[in-house]
């Protein structure tokens, strides 16, 4: 039974995903505790990104992708229910992608876009505040405060990714999904993003897909190991990395495959 | 006036955006209602509800202006028995009225005195109708303008009134826009239907006068023989049989197109090979755009060039070596057309040759083949399908080309395969039969549509074949 007053931001069970006839996720159940960072790890093609994209229904965009399962937001909102508007869901569940994808607009407009379309700010001043605040939280404000009207694609890769995080924060989500957010970045930019994730977990539930096990151990408190569409093991990050229950997990962690 | 009213439609729709948004904002802040959508969307909502009905009515009034004019002038009030008139009589009277309308409003002409014969011959109601006709533009314009001030304002206020906090404007706006987008893409289909039906419809009319077999298999083309003997008997059936024979047009078209292809295929293909395989990038960057200029030059320019310089030049050269060459020889038109098609062949073949994978070239070089051997033995065979596709498209272009042959080829049909003799083409005859008097009840006009339909079918087959071949070819190397 699902606990209505749980401390889980998101609960999933019996999740199956098919691409056409090919099965991508096979009966996965995972719960994500509030204000904690959960890592999804596993070899490429294991279904971790697919699973992540189910959580804000980004898979809806792909025609052949068929998602089944129970997804409960805050213990009571079924995110695949027909009454739920996918746009409202994505307002609550933000996402940051593998490659930074700022809009080729100004830095300001990038952050302001979400609040604008959701009508979050009722005045220009309020909007300015939201933009400033979001950039602050993303640790980018000091670097860009003098060039808010520059085109965002002129920023460095790490800055772009932090801008995308600011863009996701600006609509005040409860959960932020991150799909290998550092895979296109250099080590210094990666370190900055990791610090940022540590700060953000105060206010947000973060689910991060990563192929870097060291990153998972640095940023997350819970870790889930996926293999061939199955959830192999889930638990405290420390435990998964030191004495996993399953041999498969151990093999992956110790670098025997993947 | 019609344009002015269009401007009004735009301005009024635009201003209703602000009005709708203002209304939504006042609901939110003054009455503390919760809005289901962003205030902007209430603005868009009003704009769409004003703009689309108005613009559709505007187009309707634009397109059917002449029908309204006819209704207005030929009103049953003036001509009680108008419904019983034959279309011939209707046309005659309409013609008379439009002639009258040019003079009735000249203040210098006093309608009551003098012997202005045309006025004397006209009945009272015809003169009134003529006056109406003369004033029609003004009346139509003003009523249009009035309509397009009142209508948008009315629609705008109604739409704005329907705004409430509960009304979720965003999905409605998105729904309307999605219909508009969908409708736009269906217009492409409607155009094809339009082409097909307007050709088929008039071609069927043509075949009511002329036997199908006579048209496609007779070798004599003398459309001027299709005259009316007298009103009761209609067309001279014997003459009609001999008037519209399609065969010499087809041979002329094919003759000129062949000359064109003989020029364009070797030059275009060799140019493409040179540019793709031999030329340095510098030469390529300069030569390619210049050759593509040839494709951008309007065909009327080629026609002028062919008629002015090429034809006399060929005639002189021919006479110099003792060959009788016509001033309107198929050769001149074909050469000009060939030059026009060179870039067409070269740029299509260039794409095709470049699509051949580099590994094939390297394989050939690795066994010691020279560049030309590689091209001849490996690249061209690999690219053959694509190149054939581009040839087919070029042939289709040549067959459908109009201005060059209208200006440089002959108007007289001539069943010949000698390029030094004059020849005529399908397109030339379409233009000739439609310049001047257009009468939709005369086979001389209608034959253009039968020719057009034949041309359309011929090019359609070539195009579909070419597009399919090229598509298959692309898929092979992707």
């Amino acid at each position: 039974m699902v606990d209505q007053n749980s401390n889980y931001a998101l609960q999933t069970s019996e999740v199956y995903v098919h691409y056409g006839k090919k099965m991508a996720i096979n009966n996965v159940a995972l719960n994500f505790p509030k204000n904690e960072v959960t890592s999804l790890i596993g070899p490429s093609g294991c279904g971790k990104s697919t699973f992540l994209r189910c959580l804000n229904r980004m898979n809806d965009v792909i025609d052949i992708c068929n998602v089944k399962g129970k997804f409960l937001l805050n213990g009571n909102v079924d995110i695949y229910s027909p009454d739920i508007q996918v746009e409202t869901l994505r307002e609550k569940v933000g996402m940051v992608f593998q490659k930074p994808n700022p809009f080729p607009k100004t830095i300001y407009d990038n952050v302001a876009y979400g609040p604008k379309i959701h009508g979050i700010a009722s005045s220009q001043n309020e909007l300015d505040e939201i933009v400033k605040d979001s950039l602050h939280r993303a640790g980018l404000y000091e670097e860009v405060k003098d060039r808010m009207d520059d085109i965002a694609t002129g920023l460095s890769g790490g800055q772009q990714q932090r801008l995308c995080i600011a863009r996701a924060i600006a609509i005040r989500p409860e959960i932020i999904l991150m799909d290998e957010p550092c895979s296109a970045l250099d080590p210094i930019a990666t370190a900055k993003i990791e610090d940022l994730i540590n700060e953000l977990k105060e206010n947000y539930t973060i689910i991060i897909v990563t192929h870097s096990m060291s990153q998972a151990s640095r940023v997350s408190s819970k870790t889930a190991f996926f293999h061939l569409g199955n959830l192999v093991e889930y638990g405290e990050t420390g435990k998964i990395f030191t004495k996993p229950d399953k041999e498969q997990t151990n093999d992956y962690i110790t670098g025997r495959f993947g | 006036m019609l344009y002015l009213s269009l401007v009004f439609v735009f301005i009024l729709s635009y201003s209703f955006y602000f009005y709708g948004k203002k209304r939504a904002l006042s609901l939110k802040f003054k009455k503390n209602e919760n809005l289901s959508s962003l205030p902007d969307y209430y603005g868009y909502y009003v704009v769409l509800l004003v703009f689309f009905p108005a613009i559709i009515i505007w187009f309707f009034l634009l397109i059917f202006k002449s029908n309204f004019q006819e209704m207005f002038v030929m009103s049953p009030v003036l001509f009680p028995d108008v419904a019983t008139w034959s279309s011939g009589k209707f046309g005659l009277i309409m013609n008379k009225i439009s002639n009258l309308s040019m003079i009735v409003n000249l203040s210098e002409i006093d309608l009551t005195v003098g012997d202005k014969s045309i006025l004397k011959m006209a009945s009272e109601s015809e003169i009134i109708a003529a006056k109406n006709l003369a004033n029609f533009d003004k009346i139509y314009g003003w009523s249009n303008l009035t309509l397009f001030i009142i209508l948008p304002v009315l629609l705008g206020f109604l739409a704005t009134k329907s705004i409430s906090g509960k009304l979720n404007a965003q999905p409605i706006v998105e729904k309307i826009i999605s219909y508009v987008i969908k409708g736009s893409s269906y217009i492409a289909i409607f155009i094809t239907f339009g082409i097909f039906f307007s050709l088929v419809f008039e071609a069927i009319n043509f075949f009511r006068y002329v036997n199908f077999m006579d048209f496609f298999f007779n070798t004599a083309w003398n459309p001027n023989r299709a005259f009316v003997i007298n009103a009761s008997e209609g067309f001279d059936q014997e003459a009609l049989k001999e008037a519209f024979g399609f065969v010499p047009l087809l041979t002329g078209t094919l003759l000129i197109a062949s000359v064109a292809m003989l020029v364009a295929v070797p030059l275009g293909l060799l140019t493409a090979i040179y540019l793709a395989e031999y030329a340095s990038s510098k030469v390529r960057d300069i030569a390619k755009p210049i050759i593509e200029i040839l494709a951008g030059i309007p065909t009327v320019v080629y026609g002028f060039f062919a008629a002015l310089s090429l034809a006399p030049f060929i005639k002189d050269v021919g006479e110099g070596v003792g060959l009788p060459v016509s001033a309107e020889s198929a050769l001149a038109a074909g050469l000009a057309m060939g030059v026009m098609i060179i870039p067409f062949v070269s740029s299509l073949s260039d794409d095709v040759i470049k699509a051949v994978p580099q590994s094939l070239r390297e394989g050939s070089y690795a066994i010691g083949a020279t560049k030309s051997e590689t091209i001849k033995k490996v690249i061209l065979p690999a690219a053959l399908a694509g190149i054939m596709g581009s040839f087919l498209l070029a042939i289709s272009r040549a067959i459908g080309e109009t201005m060059i042959v209208v200006m440089a080829a002959s108007l007289r049909a001539n069943l010949t395969f000698n390029p030094l003799e004059p020849a005529t083409t399908i397109t030339t005859q379409i233009v000739t039969s439609l310049i001047g008097d257009v009468e939709f009840d005369n086979p001389k006009t209608l034959v253009a549509f039968a020719l057009g339909l034949t041309l359309f079918v011929m090019t359609l087959i070539l195009n579909i074949a070419a597009i399919t071949i090229v598509k298959k070819y692309r898929e092979k190397y992707e």
Binding site: - | A188, I189, Y278, I297, V300, S372, G400
Partner: protein, 416 residues
């Protein structure tokens, strides 16, 4: 070893063929341009004859107090004859006609236009450059040979002697022919201008753009962004590719058969011409716009969707603005093609003799290319020049439009 030599010789030969073909193609461009420019440049210059014009009140029906309308309406034929008599004293009737032929037939209009602009001139003598007739113009420009028997000349011996005496007095001169840019068509080559045709083409292109651009853009958005690939899109796809290859004359038949025949739209007007050109341009725009939409990376769409934008917002806020430069480039290129299209204009009647400059899309008009065709069919040598000059103008517009298209692409297109 001789076999290798043979092969290398074949290699050289083959390369030479390729170079030869390319050079020949380039040569065609040059010769075409040379021919057009050498025949057309004369049209920008007009021969004039200097004459003292006494605006004799006895021969003018109006006074300096007359309204502009009255001045426009009055006849100045007698005044023109009087001017000729004054400048060539002692002509008998036969010679008078010969001399009159040396001046433009529109002599009286030229005088009228002068009075309209300077009403106070009546009763005074002014020194004016009067336009020569086209035949004289051609002799002066050297386009007609002088040393052929009189019977083969348009200008007879007497006229030549007058010409030479005028020339020796320094009365013959050449001026820039601004009439070519400000007049409508005319039966007389010296007064024929291109403005009417230019405006006709302008209105037609305006209609063409307002039809084809919005519909082409929205149709491509539907096909690329909204519809799932299937039967209907396949049909539309094949359809559009075919429409792009249908001969332009068939579009003309569509205009004549459907717009004029069925909808009863008027003949000879830019509205119909423009719509037909719009039908023709639509596939070009759709194809260019779809390619441009496909160039917008999916990550932009995902980014917008991930912050909760609807499909429609994603497309209208992000995808369309980013694809617009490509669409615009395609549109301008399509419009340039439409500007050069002649055959459809011929069929919808935009090829008549129209003197007035059209004031809108409902006025009878010709287009730039159809005017070129009309002039090329005229027998007078003077129109040959005009035809080439018209072509020069048309080509310059095409070059400008294509340059703008390239610039739009270079300056505005977002690189990924």
């Amino acid at each position: 070893m001789s076999s290798l030599e043979k092969r290398l010789a074949a290699e050289k030969r083959f390369k030479f063929y390729g170079m030869f073909a390319m050079t020949l193609s380039l040569f065609f461009v040059l010769i075409l341009m040379y021919k057009i420019f050498s025949t057309g440049s004369g049209a920008f210059v007009r021969t004039t004859i200097n004459a003292d014009v006494y605006f004799d009140p006895n021969f003018i029906e109006v006074s300096s107090n007359s309204s502009k309308k009255e001045i426009m309406k009055a006849s100045y034929v007698d005044l023109a004859d009087q001017v000729i008599n004054q400048n060539h004293p002692g002509l008998d009737e036969e010679n008078f006609i010969k001399v009159r032929e040396m001046y433009t037939r529109k002599f009286d209009y030229q005088l009228r236009d002068y009075i309209v602009n300077n009403p106070n001139v009546i009763g005074k003598t002014v020194n004016l450059d009067i336009s020569a007739s086209s035949d004289l113009d051609q002799i002066v420009k050297g386009n007609y040979p002088r040393n052929v028997p009189e019977a083969q000349r348009k200008i007879n011996d007497y006229q030549l002697s007058i010409l030479d005496s005028l020339d020796s007095k320094g009365k013959m001169s050449k001026t820039f022919n601004f009439w070519f840019f400000t007049n409508g068509d005319s039966r007389d080559p010296e007064t024929a201008g291109i403005l009417g045709a230019l405006m006709g083409s302008f209105y037609a292109l305006l209609i063409c753009f307002s039809f084809a651009f919005p519909i082409g853009l929205l149709a491509s958005v539907y096909l690329e962004e909204f519809v799932k690939p299937g039967k209907i899109t396949d049909i539309i796809e094949v359809n559009i590719n075919n429409l792009a290859a249908v001969p332009s004359i068939v579009y003309g038949l569509l205009g004549l058969g459907m717009l004029i025949g069925v909808f009863g739209m008027p003949y000879q007007v830019p509205l119909v011409g423009g719509l037909v050109l719009g039908f023709m341009t639509l596939p070009t725009i759709i194809i260019a716009s779809r390619a441009s939409l496909r160039g917008v990376p999916p990550s932009i769409r995902e980014g917008a969707l991930a912050v909760g934008a609807t499909k429609m917002q994603t497309v209208f806020h992000h995808v369309i603005p980013l694809s617009l430069p490509g669409t615009l480039t395609g549109t301008i290129i399509g419009m340039a093609q439409a500007l050069g299209e002649t055959a459809p204009l011929l069929l919808v009647g935009m090829v008549a003799f129209v003197m007035e400059i059209p004031g809108g899309a409902f006025d009878p008009a010709t287009g730039l290319p159809s005017q070129i065709y009309l002039w090329s069919e005229s027998a007078e040598r003077g129109f040959l020049e005009k035809t080439s000059a018209g072509i020069m103008l048309l080509l310059s517009f095409l070059i400008i439009m294509n340059t703008v298209a390239v610039l739009v692409r270079r300056k505005l297109e977002v690189k990924w």
